[in-house]
Symmetry: C2
Subunit: 347 residues, 2 copies
């Protein structure tokens, strides 16, 4: 399989490392990865015979500037060169997310699909803004678009909704989709910390980012919920359609009172079918032990689908980190290779 890597950060490096570590298993699937391009905002390299992945990974462990890597690579390659050469089967799009324009990922995905390349992406922006349009372009060009990494990484939220619920109509989506807030709430309960202290601990441990607004104000959860709703319920909702509340006002006394009732606070993203459409919320909810998401602790995540014919399905897991995220990209790649049509030809 001839591959182009666009965007090369922590997940990108973990992905190439996985291609090395999983060489034998991939070979059994008849997948022999041939990475021809690595393109970043600083420039791109190209090797028509395939970049030596092992050498490249080792090189980039020490050097940030990929433009000085050379074992015969062509330097200063751009995305347009890739489109002209047309010598790949799949683009792995991992550039940083822009929630307003989706760029540069949007252009990469649109043009790749139009040129007949499968795309697997970790980039939430384009999927958030234009999934339906991207799906139509993919369908028209008879290629696939893998987006599993955008909504929970290792947790198979998209797989769960598309493959495990195939033939069933999803009536509600309920998820604990943000590991950072879940860790903070867990710390408050377990170690009797107030919110600010728990947040600080999460930041010190590298679990929360320095600017953790996206996580703690609920926007990361909202983005994931939006993508899941649009993809699995065939909607075209926008972020403004979701009522979003974060966790920053919660006090340790709230958590203790809930615990007395045998309940736990979780930041829950939820889409429910109501009479006049959909009710979409992100907010703190008190879950009791009857709710299978009750046990989603620490950095874990969980998603629950209620359906008409297959009943309830709850999936819990989703290890955090660059390797699990890269593994979810590899999962999409393999499922596409196995012939799965996430997107049918007749939408």
């Amino acid at each position: 399989m001839r591959i182009a890597i666009i965007g090369y950060g922590g997940v990108g490096r973990a992905f190439l490392q996985l291609l090395l570590d999983k060489k034998d298993e991939l070979s059994k699937e008849d997948i022999n990865p041939n990475v021809k391009y690595v393109i970043t905002s600083k420039g791109g390299i190209y090797n028509p015979d395939g970049i030596d992945i092992e050498e490249f990974v080792n090189y980039t462990k020490l050097n940030k500037d990929i433009m000085n890597f050379s074992t015969g690579e062509v330097q200063h390659i751009t995305f347009n060169d890739l489109l002209e050469n047309k010598d790949i089967d799949m683009v792995i799009e991992m550039t940083p997310t822009n929630k307003n324009t989706g760029e540069p990922g949007m252009t990469h995905i649109v043009e790749s699909l139009k040129n007949g390349f499968h795309v697997v992406t970790a980039n939430k922006g384009p999927i958030l803004l234009a999934y339906k349009r991207l799906k139509e372009i993919a369908s028209k060009n008879n290629v696939q678009l893998g987006i599993g990494c955008t909504t929970g990484g290792a947790l198979p939220t998209i797989n769960g909704g598309l493959m495990d619920m195939a033939g069933s109509t999803i009536q509600s989506i309920e998820g604990v989709l943000n590991g950072t807030t879940n860790f903070i709430l867990n710390e408050m309960e377990k170690n009797m910390l107030e919110y600010d202290e728990a947040l600080k601990k999460a930041q010190e441990l590298g679990i929360a980012e320095t600017d953790s607004t996206l996580d703690v104000e609920g926007w990361d959860t909202a983005i994931k919920l939006l993508i899941l709703t649009n993809v699995l319920m065939n909607q075209e909702k926008e972020l403004k359609d979701i009522k979003v509340e974060g966790i920053s006002k919660i006090k340790i006394s709230d958590i203790q009172e809930a615990a007395k009732e045998g309940k736990k606070y979780k930041l829950v993203g939820k889409t429910v079918k109501v009479e006049d459409g959909l009710d979409m919320t992100v907010r703190l909810e008190k879950l009791d032990t009857k709710n299978p998401l009750y046990g989603v602790d620490d950095k874990n995540k969980g998603i629950r689908y209620v359906s008409d014919t297959l009943g309830d399905l709850t999936i819990i897991g989703g290890a955090s980190g660059v390797t699990p995220a890269a593994s979810s990209i590899l999962r999409d790649l393999i499922n596409i290779k196995r012939g799965y049509k996430f997107i049918s030809n007749n939408i």
Copy 2:
């Protein structure tokens, strides 16, 4: 899609009903089911233009003998006629399970695969006895074998292990796989019943069968664990390789003592990689709240996979009954139609 139904009990009728109820959704997937054969131990009928599913379902609600149904059907059709006619794409095999010979399902599956028909089956016997051989026959003939219904019905255990864990190596399998025993244990805890009383209640409610040996002695769990282990870990184990203990010796005092420690007894089937192979057990285990299977209550089921690169994955759900079971067959049918290769060409 041209379909033959072999074996027609409660799940079979629910399956045909689903084909009617889901007509529009299936049409969107480009699936227009054309059921040409229904063959049971009492005889078979055949309509080269497709049996009128609605009339047939209504007829069989009142009449057990399908041989008197006729809107132009050819009567007294056998499985051999179907093999000769070669005018179908998929066989849905739902005959009763025989754990010793696998028959008559084994012959149906082998011959169907050899004749180039996809097979989706609810029949544990052949899968238990000969999955690897069946997989090889399917691969050789470039057709698929869907077995999701054999290991938990609506709970996507096979999907979870094959599709959601694609690219990751499963290191252990741990499941609460039998709804009946889970219901009994739950009743004992909730309503302070002794084992015999809880079993009686389950039987009265139709949850446990009159002869519930297979369930309560752990064999149903063992069979499902065996299939999952062989399919997901590429093994050829047999039932004798599993240490199997049932739940019939548990006392209400045991359950109460566990509850004091904040734990619950569950009948757990577990396969773990150890130094010299695999350790496979079915037995009562005390789970604490840290174990995501702790919350698998009532008739629910759950499965947990631990993997190398995608971390832990726990799936909980799996509504009981003929419609969820039939829905899991429909799920396999759709995923095969979507192009998924459960079985690759190069095994």
